[in-house]
């Protein structure tokens, strides 16, 4: 360990040295607790794989899903994870387009949450299949008239574009890793940095195409992200099912997605900030701004909820009464009112008072928001399917241990990917932070590799 530390300065004096140490820290030092965490997460994922192997062998009978309630925990988790993937888009792309400088320390983490959440969410669709060996039929026999095919197209597009959007702004930071991470870093990592940094030396002639690519992507990715959760909502909204047959579902899902995405980002930021001592870069200001975003989106969610339920509830046609009863006073009432008062009211209150605008309160509110947004997905799926459309008795659904196990494995997989990521990739967008730091009158940007002295610092800046 001593030899590992030898490279880092005993007392980093300059701003440049400090940020380099901060971003390289996770790659250089690994505490024993990290291995404990990884082993634990791998164990949970392994348990989920065992549960899935049973489901694979015996079929969906291992789950609580039956003919009448044929979607349950898996589809709720699919919608939830695709939802939190909107963290990256909003914070990174929208704030980049609007040139909000405070975004820079949190963009990388946000973009990575997007990719990881999409990878996790897409798994749950496959897990939900009774015959996963028939998955290729979506490609071979897919029909664009089907909302399921729209989902496949939209999620694939979003995944591809957010992967590219994660990678491109990382190139200068990967070059920094290539040049600075020398001692105590595994050889495979060094090779990886060299391959991924694609010969970045910080020349102005390299910055130009990169900034052009980023400009294209940040504009492209916003409509894609909006379309993704709209299309996810349409697998419900395109049916005549009571509780799903709604024109406002697209807006409700997109707003809810960004809402839960910001909450997830808040939680992940708080954890990484604590573990890797990023207090200098991720400050209270970031959490407060995220809390304002949460409050704004909770207002949109409250509005959408009232609009949705007042327009249907005023008329109370057909089986709407059944749906309303079970949602507001029946089986799902606990979930609904927790969601409404906890998830939708709390963030606004937390953001409203100075006394509660602290990191513990904001993170606590974010946790409640995430739980309640998951519950919202759950009661949309299950309460909608439970409402009988023909005169038969309402069926019941309760997840089995197989479903709970796979759900736990899904969250563990999500956490595991983030844990592995921080050990390999730069978790802060150093060059963007430096640029912002410089623009507000701080020190000059750290030199990437051995940048030509002839290149003035302003040429590093992304043209917007």
């Amino acid at each position: 360990m001593v030899s590992l530390r030898s490279e880092s300065r005993a007392t980093p004096s300059t701003w440049t040295e400090r940020i380099e140490d901060a971003v390289l820290g996770p790659v250089r030092h690994t505490s024993p607790w990290y291995y404990v965490l990884v082993v634990f997460l791998v164990a949970v994922v392994g348990w989920g794989i065992y549960a899935y192997s049973l489901q694979f062998r015996h079929g969906l009978i291992e789950t609580g899903m039956r003919d009448r309630i044929s979607w349950g925990l898996y589809i709720s988790l699919f919608v939830f994870f695709i939802g939190i993937s909107h963290a990256g888009t909003l914070v990174s792309a929208i704030l980049r387009v609007s040139n909000a400088g405070w975004r820079t320390p949190i963009t990388r983490i946000a973009e990575f949450i997007t990719v990881v959440a999409l990878l996790t969410g897409a798994f749950f669709v496959i897990i939900d299949l009774g015959r996963p060996d028939r998955l290729l039929n979506v490609i071979i026999y897919g029909r664009w008239q089907s909302p399921i095919a729209w989902d496949v197209i939209a999620v694939t597009t979003y995944l591809a574009s957010s992967m590219v959007y994660l990678y491109l702004p990382m190139i200068p930071d990967l070059a920094l890793f290539r040049d600075r991470a020398k001692v105590g870093v595994a050889t495979w990592k060094k090779r990886l940095y060299r391959v991924l940094a694609v010969g970045w030396v910080g020349k102005a002639s390299q910055m130009r195409p990169l900034s052009r690519a980023l400009t294209i992507l940040m504009i492209l990715i916003i409509p894609i992200a909006v379309s993704v959760h709209t299309v996810v909502s349409w697998i419900f909204g395109m049916t005549l099912r009571t509780g799903w047959n709604s024109t406002i579902f697209g807006i409700m899902f997109v707003a809810g997605a960004i809402f839960s995405g910001v909450a997830t980002l808040t939680i992940v930021l708080a954890v990484l900030r604590k573990v890797y001592h990023l207090e200098e870069y991720i400050t209270l200001e970031h959490f407060q701004k995220l809390a304002y975003l949460l409050a704004a989106f909770s207002l949109i969610m409250i509005y959408v909820n009232i609009s949705e339920f007042l327009t249907t509830g005023y008329k109370l046609e057909g089986s709407e009464l059944f749906h309303f009863r079970e949602l507001f006073v029946g089986q799902f009432a606990g979930m609904y009112w927790f969601y409404f008062y906890g998830g939708l009211m709390l963030p606004g209150l937390v953001a409203l008072y100075r006394r509660t605008r602290t990191i513990p309160f904001i993170v606590g509110a974010a946790v409640v928001v995430d739980i309640s947004m998951f519950l919202e997905r759950y009661f949309i799926v299950v309460a909608g399917l439970r409402t009988p459309l023909m005169p038969y008795e309402a069926a019941n659904y309760a997840p089995t241990w197989v479903e709970w196990s796979i759900m736990a494995a899904g969250f563990a997989w999500f956490a595991l990917l983030i844990a592995l990521f921080v050990k390999v990739f730069p978790i802060l967008a150093v060059w963007e932070i430096a640029e912002h730091h410089e623009s507000i009158g701080g020190e000059k940007a750290p030199e990437m590799a051995v940048a030509e002295p002839s290149v003035p610092a302003k040429q590093w800046r992304v043209r917007r």
């Binding site: 060996d133 591809a160 010969g199 008795e393």
Partner: protein, 495 residues
Amino acid sequence: MKRWKAGFFIALVAALTFGLALPAFATHIEIEVTSPSHSELGSTSEITVKLTDADSSGPVAEAEVVLYQTTDFGGQSGKVRVAHSTTDADGIAQLRWVERSSGSKDYTVEYSGPGESSPEGIAIHVGEGSQLYRSQEGLKLPGIGVSSIIGLLVLIWGTLFIAAALVFAVVRAGRDDPSDNWTVEAEAPSRRRFLFPIAVVLFVAGLAATLLTVVVRNPQTHGNLGGPGGYARTPVAYLDQVEQFAGFPLAAGETPVGPNAVEGGRITYVAHGCAACHGLDADGGVVGTSLRNHSADALEAAARFGPLGMPAFNEANLPRADIEKIAAYVGSFGGATPVPEVSGDQVFSQFCATCHGADGGGDIGPALGGIELSIEEIISVVTSGGERMPSWRGTLSEEQMRAVAEYVKALNAPGPGPVVVPNVDESATLFSEKCSGCHGAGGVGGFAPQLAGTQLPADELTAAISVGRGGMPAFSDLTGDQVALLVSYILTLQP
């Protein structure tokens, strides 16, 4: 009303008896139909049918006339029962029905025994009047369609491709830079820096091509209706049935034939969906009865007829060859399941008591005590059914019919009828008398909805018993107390 129906039933049975006793009486019936040649969609068509006895030239009264339409639907053609009526004293019956589809329609009027008659065919052309079931034509907006989706995909993925390809410019600009130490190390020649950008661009291009392929070849693959793609549905798999891996795309739809007759029969049995009701091991399920040790003929008789809510299968969707394979499978269990001893008492209380009363004293159906029919005649009534009485062909075996006929005949014996063992619990007795015939003993396993563990509240159960529900008759003869007893009893039943 009920009394009239009961009287009518007896009259029918008597007519039947008379017909059987005097074969010369009903040798041939002539059907004379007066029908319009033209009708309109959605309007009511009406025909007049006159039945005349060919020998005596007298009218045939109280006879049932049925109108069938020859039609085809979903690739199957056959006769659909459209209307029926009973002739009056002059042998005249009026049949009315609403035309549900347009075009030239072929109808057949049939007289249902006793005696013989040739069916009389009529043709009516139905013009396109008011719309009935035809769905509205969709709105076709110019420029909205698959081409716009392809255009959108090309635009989005093309833009993404351009952004990804800009990495090449980054690499090129940094090449040959002396400050880049890449070239210093022999293991990584300078060309290798293009490897990852190439991978990124191929990733984007590959996904784009895949999605575009799905959309572009879409019209070729209209899933369920077959087509050039050779789409066939994956066969239904049942619990505990191991489905062999058959490659990633859809497996062939044809029924596989196993290595021997029994295995082949099992596959056929499962593939036709028999297992859904009759159980994987053919020993009966919640709904279906045990099929073990049934002959191919017995299976075919039941399958073509479709007793007790079972769908009828015709030669097209369940060929005789498949029935023989299934018979090989259901016959393979040997004496595994003992054939239950046929008891007329049991059959009566299970199938007949609901309508004819527990002691045959009559209820919905007529009283059977003192009925003057031979055993063969009773079997004939049970086989073909009566006015409201269903036909039990296919449901009851020959032995069961004979047993129940002997039981009914025994009701004729002077003196008290067979002693019905009084149940200690009056509500349980009531239930087995009134409900178990359709809902099954203990409220489980009947063809009517399961009552054990029902989620219906007490007031709905009360309403169902008093005024009927769906296909269930009203039990208006029960007193309020009896209904209340039944409801509280039903609510205690556990599945």
